[in-house]
Amino acid sequence: MNPLRQLFGGRGTSAGQYGMIIALILIVAIFEIATGGLTLSPTNVINVFQQYSYILILALGMVMVIIAGHIDLSVGSVAAFVGIIVAQAMSQWHWSWWEAILLGLVIGALVGAWQGFWVAFVRVPAFIVTLAGQLIFRGANQWIGNSTSVSVPESYQTIGNGFIPDFGPNTGFSNGTLLLGLITVIVLIWSEARGRAKRRKMGAELVPMWVSIVRTGILVAVTLFGTYLFGAGSVGTSFPVVAIIAGVLTILYGFITRNTIFGRQVYAVGGNANAAALSGVSIRRVNFFVMANMSLLAAIAGMVYVGYAGASGPADGTGWELDAIAAVFVGGAAVSGGIGTVAGSIVGALVMALLQNGLQLIGAESNLQQIIRGLVLLLAVAFDVYSKTQGRPSLIGGITRGLGIGRDRTKATDAPAQVAALPKSIDDQSTVSLP
């Protein structure tokens, strides 16, 4: 294992993933110089988090969808659909902000159940279901809102543009942010120490001590720097509420994908659906919940954005699906499914967000920005694909297998007839119920 890989992640971290961390650092560094220090100024960092938090939130669901081997093109429309209903609930029916948010979550879950139903039970490919969803929910948004923007009250806007409130003595910084930073630092050190203890207990291979120290040290330094940035903004600003929402969701979904049975099953279905089915995984159940969860997160992203924009508009969410998908792929996920991480997708989302922010700060035109972002997406995935082909026997094995040569195949050359007759996914066949 090379030291870089040890630093940036354990097992399963592809070259592309730490490549992207380096890319992220490079992007920040380049723009920091090009803008004369504006990129890492408190105002800008706060702006970036407020502006692009919806991509972070969407990427969390999208990475699971993509790991499971699907795609979701409807997230922008679903976000807009939920957004307009929430806005209407407050402006027309005079619901309070928390009632409206609850309504939004319920609608998001219902939309998710609808899409999950078609994907999992009717087995319409997710691409089609969500393409239809894109049209359906965009139309529903404009129908409900009469294609106009509906404003939301200021109490609600907090979830999109609010900050941790100020309290305590005047330290020259936002005290809430300082506290949050301190807690994060403690948690980082504690979790690294606990991770080491756990691995020692397991008798598993331990990374060298210097790796742990440098890794934690870097994270602590980043946290402290972030604390400074968020805490030192102009009075009234501090750590944005949306960043807290995105942060909590990131930790939650990181945990779900890594440590729960459901998370395992998502990887299993995406990696080899037949093997998963033969291991007792209900592919339908996994597909249903993955798609449903995506719409729920789209609902949250939509609500957050409405809070940030101060109104729900008919064009909300256009192009979001592409932002989220791009973030996930830049973050090292595989188009064929089975590969991808929450952490990688967050890095991918940050790469795309900071790139766009930096280009805006140096005054690049929006059309140029789109070209550059397109190229970065292409290059990032190309780099990932390239690095996977380097010295990875699995892929070469895959190629030789595909050509029907190689050791494992020789004994089996007489065999493929009945394998070929198998349905694509075994789960597709188990439709007969007991009499």
Partner: protein, 371 residues
């Protein structure tokens, strides 16, 4: 082993903290809630955020702003929203301008109701917010609104329609259809209401008949100001109401792009040209006006409009109080009535085109060439 590790972490953390303390100067308190105290100097950055380049007007506006801002001695940062996601990109652009220290932001909003957070930030950063061409809604953080009087635009369009009908279609009653702009553009209802203020009495006395019966803004609106939407609606109207020989005499169109789309639809259906109004004096429409295909357009001299905004900035930089209209209800943004500078548009038909465009060599050339 473990102890050594914790000591190591602590050392790194301490080092990091020290590094940071070197650059931490505490939070900036430049924020001032009273923008009237803002002073603007020559060489200050003026940010101009315009919507996506969906019409020529916006493209011209960018150049006009650049020229006049630089001429007035300021630095210009002109940004357009992107086509695929105009609102978020415009929000981000305004934030970037403020980060770069813009003293004034002139905003041609992509969606006037979705910029509350950005203008609030601008206020906090002590920048002056000028809504340009389209008002910014539901916020008290807009300082000025510079635009043509859009209600008046509507009135002019309706009058042109009536004149044109009388001139080209003989005596009434006339069969007419109505089109309005995009519902997410705050100006679209103004155009439409202005026009309806002239047309309503004529509809009431039977001079004008809207065959489809679609006379409300929502019925007539064109999502996104998109030509394809207008052409589709016109085609549907023809199929629905004019297929059996009912004559279509005139169409109220809010701008030139939609006017051409409407004419395209009538042409495809094989109908004779109705009297169609327009707005914006787009280069594609001027030849049509000169050859009589499209009856009228409106000339809103973008150069004048941009200049008006820049003049406003110049006035403010001298510490003078600008002359504004303070009580026009059409400038109510939902929270306040925004102080505004209103410009007057010019109605253009075949007869006065050359005269009207004499300030704009490109348009003048087009008008003369097609005379």
């Amino acid at each position: 082993m473990r102890k050594k590790y914790i000591v190591g972490i602590a050392a790194v953390a301490a080092a990091a903290a020290l590094t940071l303390s070197g650059c931490s100067t505490g939070r900036t308190t430049s924020g001032s809630s009273d923008s009237s105290s803002t002073t603007i100097k020559k060489g200050d950055l003026i940010g101009v955020a315009l919507p996506a380049k969906t019409s020529q007007n916006w493209v011209l506006a960018g150049q006009d702003f650049k020229d006049s801002i630089e001429k007035a001695g300021f630095k210009a940062d002109i940004q357009y929203a992107d086509n695929s996601s105009p609102v978020p990109s415009q929000q981000a652009e305004i934030n970037s301008m403020l980060t770069k220290g813009a003293k004034v932001v002139i905003i041609g909003a992509a969606d006037g109701s979705q910029l509350t957070t950005q203008v609030a930030t601008a206020k906090k950063d002590g920048a002056i917010v000028i809504a340009w061409d389209r008002n910014i809604l539901n916020t008290k953080n807009v300082d000025y609104y510079v635009a043509f009087n859009n209600f008046h635009v509507g009135e002019l369009q309706a009058q042109a329609l009536l004149d044109g009908l009388k001139k080209e279609k003989g005596s009434g009653p006339y069969n007419v259809e109505l089109f309005a702009g995009s519902p997410d553009d705050a100006n679209a209802p103004l155009f439409f209401n202005g026009a309806m203020s002239v047309l309503k009495p004529k509809i009431a006395d039977g001079t004008i008949k809207v065959v489809s019966g679609q006379t409300t803004f929502n019925n007539a609106s064109t999502q996104g100001w998109l030509a394809q939407n207008a052409q589709k609606r016109m085609t549907d109207l023809i199929t629905g109401y004019y297929a059996k020989g009912t004559k279509l005499d005139g169409v109220l169109s809010p701008n030139d792009t939609l006017a051409r789309a409407i004419l395209q639809a009538t042409k495809s259906a094989g109908l004779p040209n109705p009297v169609v109004t327009g707005q914006d004096s787009e280069t594609d429409s001027i030849p049509l006006i000169m050859n009589g295909t499209q009856y009228s357009t409106i000339y809103k001299d973008t150069t004048l409009e941009a200049q008006a905004a820049v003049d406003l900035v110049t006035t403010l930089s001298k510490g003078e109080k600008p002359k504004t209209v303070d009580n026009d209800k059409n400038n109510d943004n939902g929270k306040i009535i925004v102080k505004s500078i209103e410009l007057s548009p010019v109605l253009v038909t075949k007869d006065n085109a050359v005269e009207a465009y004499k300030n704009n060599p490109d348009l003048e050339k087009l008008a003369t060439a097609n005379q």
